[in-house]
Symmetry: D2
Subunit: 310 residues, 4 copies
């Protein structure tokens, strides 16, 4: 291990120590029982860089439910599959409303504001469901390949919980269907959506699997093109303006990086030209973002001077 | 003139040529007579860099009404004057609504979503009105100093037009006042706001005067600290998520730079670590952004690889 | 036939004649194919009085899809079954929004504004589904008894059409379910709701079956108590403020009677202390109310001086 | 005094006694100091009938600020002055939103939902300001004539308070002006509006002055035509669907009479063909309606069987 890595490792451990007690400031997601049982004081962070470093601290190898972070992978898959035509069915504007709001969706005729709010991700799920013979398997295969790990899998208890408590997402899907913006059966679309939300991964896997977004679409380890440079740019832009739900502006303001959070407590942040940070701590603030996760990413970004707004 | 400058100059001229006929795609602002009379086929662009280059093409020295671009200067002045307490009176989130929407302002109790929509800029005007003995003069002085030009002045006809047709802005101001979020008299606040909107500047002056935002708060020509590095970061973040009205997400997606437009047809774009681009062409799209201005900034950003999302 | 009846008959025929060409001003509902095929120039009117008169003109014995008129029967059944506790799950305020709006439903936490907009009627359907072993049969039995006609039945083609195109209603149901305001399975609730909407009746049957609302809850023909006087009052009040969708205020203003319309072109109007008017003509205005139906009720109400606002 | 009157008198006194302690359930309006100082335990009721009875109990001759009850008089004046053209500038639909909401007003392009929410009454004030050389005097003259009392006057302290704290109303007026739906100067319109709101009257005066609405437009004492029968009908219809702010549906549901309340604690209720009830008690519920006032009107309406919905 070289000195850079040792330094970074030390920094991450110091940051974790500083955040040790802050998990009390949030509340573990409890809208589904399967998420509510996670221990609140787990926390981990991992940094992967495009020049090959992978460093982690705390529970960075402890798997958690990726939830909305799956929206990033789904979006890339959908763009790869149907190209720019996706932007006729979903926009790329911040919503200015909570992630699960149905209000805007009706007044804007079933066109979601962006692909990383729930309505938009359900629309992306419809694209995948309609264009892959087995979209769930295709999704899992895509993620496993990116993470370089064949063992990544779906947490079936989370999945069943999602299905049972997924009435708001069902409402969003039916509303889009009523406007003609869903092609597949609502039930199939939701089944795909809940499946991708129920995947379990750890910080290290997530950080590595998203390196292509920091590297103009190319996975730096395999040198494979995962998406075009233009689409990597676009995904990063969307994550910058809309990735942190209704706190996206504040995250840009105080941290300054493209990011996506999930209610499982995970948070990934892309640093174009450098790498990916993934933090995890289950307790959420009232926007649905991990309290400690945000603090961790904010601290490391500031310490390393990573902000894209300088 | 060195080779770099000659190259950039050539690029700008080529871009202008390519956009020559596109002004037909927009419509000059006509909500006030004083703006409606501007010739639609004028267009210019200027690039100023932190290492001292200043290059322009077309009507880059033709003065126009800066309108909402003034919000950037006002915001910096207000932050400098009252510090972080400003963020208790205005948020930093994208609004997801048209720039002059009064709807969100009522449901959010008179707290504007961000300082670059109209409500937010009126709130900033209240801060300036309340904290400077002569806020209009202070504003003009600040801009003149930044641009290094004592002749920058207010277009009185535009000002009078604004006052006469400013009922929607008056509604926003009174609504905030009813929630206790305006300290000065509404009439005085609006008078300041309309004054700063009525200032005339050209592309070259605007590009140069905002260089400090690309340079961590320091004006590279004078080496004076205009604002803290942290506040330059914050302003750039706000311009990235909210500077282009309800098209901010699309601008991030397709261009990838902090920017602010005005209904006078001007558009400034900050490139952290590099410089500032200012484009001008009066005809606007239905979001209120200059059609040709956006094309010009998009083209030069792509050609020079300036996007912050890579 | 006595003179009063002959006079009223003549009036109704004259009114129909005067409206003969006005069906061109509306548009037959086409959101489901089964409704779109109805002949647009059919029109009928029937008046039933509490003292036993039943008069009709035109196609008053031609059956049509009662659609939202079924909401009146469902509401009475639900009140009879669970009493005042219904008002903890649905309000009695005008909505100020289109009948199928999902916007208010989210901001008001899944509590519908009143029982005669779609969300409210779906909630009522949930009560019926949850409290009757076979709610569809119970509904049909209730209506047949009121109309004194065992042959009233469900139009199966309309029902299948409703199910196929019912995604907006499914969205409303799932949204209420997500707020915990639906007890039964969404699929069962919708099946009941679409069933009651798909019942076919004619003007004469509808006018007679609702006489109890004009007679303090008592069916004047059988002297049976259908509901309490207080609940008849309440239903009439709701029909007065909310029965004509987003045109309820205008209907009160220009006609002045409790009323309920359906997208099948039917319109019933209660005249407390006098009787019930039912008009039918398929073409609708953009609020979803029958153009000719409204004209017919307005004319007869004015001619006979029936308005409750004098 | 005949027996009927003695009976009614006794009923009113019994009702007041029954409500004696209920003023604790509400809260005196405190948005302006001049209203906040009124004693909360004052309460009165008066009934005037079209056949000449005038009965009162409690503080029925104690003057109070009529506030929004003035909207009824203003509406009648405006209709009389400009006829049906008023309905091109204001609608007659329930708003479904709080009385002072600016949200709907923007989305509906400056056309208020009805003339008895604030925006609508300000629009009516614009009509009066624009069509009378001295609209304030004309208003006062109209009311004095209706009440048969030359001493009715404006409470100047209330007026000054209204002006000082009237920023939300100013916002509504400027917003309508921005849509071109206000002709006079905003300042003049507001001055008229605040003036009419600041008139002081007592229960007896209010009940008598509105008898024409219960009598097809004719003042039964003078036999003068105050407005057409059609317009009396229309005003009653509007008061039925919209007169009690966002509680109008509930008032129709539980009481069943056209009514208008004011934040001064007054409440008038029209009984077509019978007379007018006016109750007063300052403490308000959270909708802005007098708690005890509503109870009083509800009780007397039930006891005498006055509901228009039977």
């Amino acid at each position: 291990m070289n000195k850079n890595i040792i330094d970074l490792q030390g920094k991450l451990e110091a940051l974790l120590l500083a955040q040790r007690d802050n998990f009390h400031q949030g509340k573990v997601a409890d809208y589904i029982p399967a998420l509510a049982v996670v221990k609140p004081d787990l926390m981990g962070i991992s940094v992967a860089t495009i020049d090959g470093k992978v460093v982690g601290a705390g529970d960075y190898q402890h798997a958690f439910s990726i939830q909305s972070i799956s929206k990033v992978f789904g979006l890339v898959m959908a763009i790869n599959r149907i190209g720019d035509s996706i932007w006729q069915r979903v926009r790329m504007e911040p919503s200015g409303q909570p992630f699960n709001s149905i209000i805007q969706l009706q007044s804007e005729k079933g066109i979601p504001r962006n692909p990383v709010i729930n309505a938009g991700a359900i629309l992306v799920s419809d694209i995948l469901t309609s264009h892959f013979s087995s979209s769930k398997l295709a999704f899992l295969t895509f993620i496993r390949k990116l993470a370089g790990n064949e063992n990544i899998s779906i947490d079936n208890q989370v999945y069943l919980s999602e299905v049972k408590h997924g009435h708001l997402n069902a409402a969003l899907a039916h509303l889009m269907k009523s406007f003609g913006n869903i092609d597949s059966k609502v039930q199939d679309v939701l089944s795909h959506y809940f499946t991708q939300c129920s995947i379990s991964m750890n910080c290290e896997q997530l950080a590595q699997s998203l390196l292509f977004l920091a590297n103009k679409g190319i996975d730096p380890r395999t040198e494979k093109v995962i998406c075009s440079a233009r689409d990597a740019h676009r995904v990063n832009a969307i994550l910058s303006t809309s990735g942190m739900y209704d706190q996206s502006g504040e995250f840009a303001f105080s941290v300054g990086l493209p990011a996506k959070s999930g209610v499982g407590g995970g948070l990934i942040s892309i640093v174009p030209g450098y790498g990916v940070i993934c933090a995890w701590s289950p307790p959420l603030n009232h926007y649905g973002n991990s309290v400690v996760g945000m603090n961790l990413v904010a601290s490391i970004a500031e310490e390393l001077g990573l902000s894209i707004y300088h």
